[in-house]
Amino acid sequence: MASIETPPTALSAGAVVPDTPAAPGGRRGSARRHWVGWFFIFPFLVVFLAFLVAPLVYAAYLSLYTKGLATGTTFAGIDNYKRAFTDPSFLHGLWFVLKFSLVVIPLQVLVALAAALLLDEIAGRLARVARLVIFLPYAIPVVLGSLMWGFLYSPSFGPIEQISTLFNVQAPFLLSQGNIFYGLLNVVTWQWAGYYMIIIYAALQGIDTSIYEAARTDGATARQIAFRIKIPLITPAMALILVFALIGTLQFFVEPKVLGPIANGTVTPDFTPNIYAVTLALQYAQFNYASAISFSLGFVVFVAVAIFMFVTRKRGSLFT
């Protein structure tokens, strides 16, 4: 999945800036505080402008032109965008990641929620070890995780194959055209559920335990506490991870890219919108159209997140 480390950074930047406006104190003090504020965000700001804003502006500029092998570069206006939203390759990829989001996000959030609720109930060394073990897949770089699964899925070397041979049956190849959806589902859930579990677990730790005591005094069972108290109280955290998961999954890239070479061609150059954009740019030399595809994907992600936040606006207080 694409990096979801970026959103928290952007949020923290947003948190810093509002602090800087002048407090009602003396003018000199406020100016100095202002300067100090800029000093501290300066390193971040340089990186932010150089590696995020500038490339975005440049890509937006590129997306307004078109370059043909035989014709050279010409101004295209919004033609590239019109082409993107009628391009079957882009639309297929988009449809795939939307379908994938609808399945993978609920799945990994459920796994994470179940694990977090269980870990919140038990204490002691076992809980600490279990927490670490569930979190561990997230600590493995996505590329390495995907390579590892590539080995596990391998029809010549993988354990799935070897176990099936024992029972004399043909192992399913989890990266074949019919199975790759599930093959990827497994890899992504394995990789990310632990991360979401930690976020939910942290939110659960933040709940005042006296509430549980009060509930127990009133005769609530553990299950009732979990469903009536814990889950409602951690909805902001849930909303947060759903947004992360949605953004990440719509930008699905690393796992199919890494597993592609052993998937017998199932991972086509337009498998997901991000893979399509990279193929366009780096293999077909269509940087202009690739920029337009990237912005179109960004637009779709933006709309999807906006819809999600609109739907959940009453429940989660995080984004209001």
């Binding site: 501290f40 340089v46 092998l69 035989a70 029809p155 052993i262 017998n264 061609g265 780096l282 077909y284």
Partner: protein, 454 residues
């Protein structure tokens, strides 16, 4: 609280130091007084003060080839990097061409990639740098493949005449006494082995679209008509009967599970080759070298391989086709084009390198001196258990090869063909429909690129 304060002060400092370190090393890299000398060479530079030419290439014996060149030259030195094999390298080169910086001085390209870079003005005409002096070393066809009119864009190194590599142990076990001479016999043998519970007879891999293209051409297809002097016009014909027949033929074998549909060059595929999972391998003359490098032909699979001429559609009028084979081109980003051309024309052109190349079967040399030498002609090839494969199979195939015309968007064409092969293997399309869809996709693409369809 105290801890927090320390952290927030330290963090920017560390970051600033990190940035300083980055820019510092950057300066170090380009502080040379003249134009930046490539320093990140895989090989040893023999003559330190000679100008360096940065070369991208992936021949398995490249280290030896580069050392041979550098030991024999004092006026120029090769600085070699392996930037990936095939498409991996082309992607990097394409990006460098688009960025107008970052390309090597000399780049290894397969014949089917040349025109795609020529049209972008990424390659330099080598005629002013003495290309015609080495013309006599090559056959007319080989020279034509690297030329456009009077211009020569690369120095040919190796070709890829195709043949049928097969497993003698599998053939013996399933009672196939002689290798199939026609595709009809090939299909019959495949059915026979399958019926006897044998392994897949071959492989219809999606990731080697160049092979499928060669087989289409063998049946009489002419996928592209293109000439750089008529830059805007292109002829595309991939929905002819020959293409449909070839796609139908392989899709039929594959859906009947008589052949495999695994991608080639993967670890799984190589393991299958070692373990006798495939009875035949339709491939080029350079394949044994790559297979040997991957561990095939040693240990349990030693002495199990032999080679036969490529099966024909019509045994009475055989057609010879080619897969791969590469050339060295000078890029237009090269700062010292004369030095770069000297490398392109001289690298892998010395006798020691060529001999090492053909003896390890990593190249099928195009240099006529080698092609006609007794050593080469009569060589008993180890991989094929002492068969005189050059004399019997590969030299006749190379001599009969007529050359091919490629499109300026080979990468796109291969990607589309690959997608169709995946569908064919999954039984989701027919050869006829695949050819029609392919034609439509290519025509649409050519139009977006500003070409006029002839």
């Amino acid at each position: 609280m105290r801890f927090k304060t320390t952290l927030s002060v330290v963090a920017p400092v560390v970051l600033a130091l990190g940035l300083a370190a980055c820019s510092g090393s950057d300066d170090g890299g380009s502080s040379g007084s003249t134009a930046a000398k490539p320093t990140n060479c895989t090989n040893k530079i023999v003559k330190e003060d000679a100008p360096r030419v940065l070369v991208w290439a992936w021949y398995p014996n490249m280290a030896k080839v580069v050392d041979n060149f550098n030991n024999q030259h004092t006026d120029v030195q090769v600085c070699w990097t392996n930037a990936g094999q095939g498409q991996d390298e082309y992607s990097k080169f394409q990006t460098a061409v688009s960025a107008k910086k970052g390309a090597p001085d000399v780049v290894m390209l397969e014949g089917d990639q040349l025109v795609g870079f020529e049209i972008q003005d990424a390659l330099v005409d080598l005629v002013p740098y003495g290309a015609n002096d080495v013309k006599k070393n090559f056959s007319e066809g080989a020279w034509k493949d690297v030329s456009q009119g009077d211009k020569v864009y690369a120095a040919p190194i190796d070709g890829g005449p195709m043949a049928l590599i097969y497993r003698t142990d599998v053939f013996a076990k399933y009672g196939i006494t002689k290798p199939p001479a026609t595709w009809a016999e090939y299909a019959a043998d495949a059915a026979k082995v399958k019926a006897a519970g044998g392994p897949p007879f071959g492989d219809f891999a999606s990731n080697v679209p160049a092979v499928t293209t060669a087989l289409m051409i063998q049946k009489g297809a002419t996928p592209f008509q293109y000439d750089l002097s008529d830059k805007q016009n292109i002829g595309i014909k991939v929905d002819d009967q020959a293409t449909k027949d070839v796609l139908n033929y392989w899709a039929d074998l594959s859906t009947k599970k008589q052949i495999g549909k695994e991608d080639q060059f993967t670890t799984d595929y190589v393991a299958g080759m070692v373990g006798g999972k495939y009875a035949t391998y339709v491939s080029a003359a350079w394949a044994p070298g790559y297979l040997t490098g991957a561990g095939v032909g040693n240990g349990s699979s030693k002495g199990k391989f032999a080679v036969a001429p490529l099966p024909q559609w019509d045994a009475a009028s055989p057609v010879s086709v080619n897969w791969g084979g590469s050339a060295f081109a000078v890029t237009s980003q090269a700062s010292d084009k004369a030095a770069a051309a000297k490398v392109a024309l001289g690298l892998y052109a010395d006798e020691a390198s060529l001999t090492d190349g053909w003896k390890t079967q990593t190249i099928f040399p195009l240099n006529q001196t080698v092609l006609k030498s007794d050593d080469f002609v009569n060589a008993k090839v180890d991989f094929f258990s002492g068969q005189t494969a050059n004399k019997d199979i590969y030299i006749p195939a190379e001599n009969a090869y007529k050359g091919a015309v490629y499109s300026p968007f080979t990468v796109y064409y291969y990607a589309q063909l690959q997608a169709q092969i995946v569908k064919l293997n999954a039984g989701q399309t027919t050869g006829d429909k695949a050819a029609t869809d392919l034609q439509a996709a290519l025509v649409a693409y050519a139009k977006t690129q500003g070409f006029t369809i002839k």
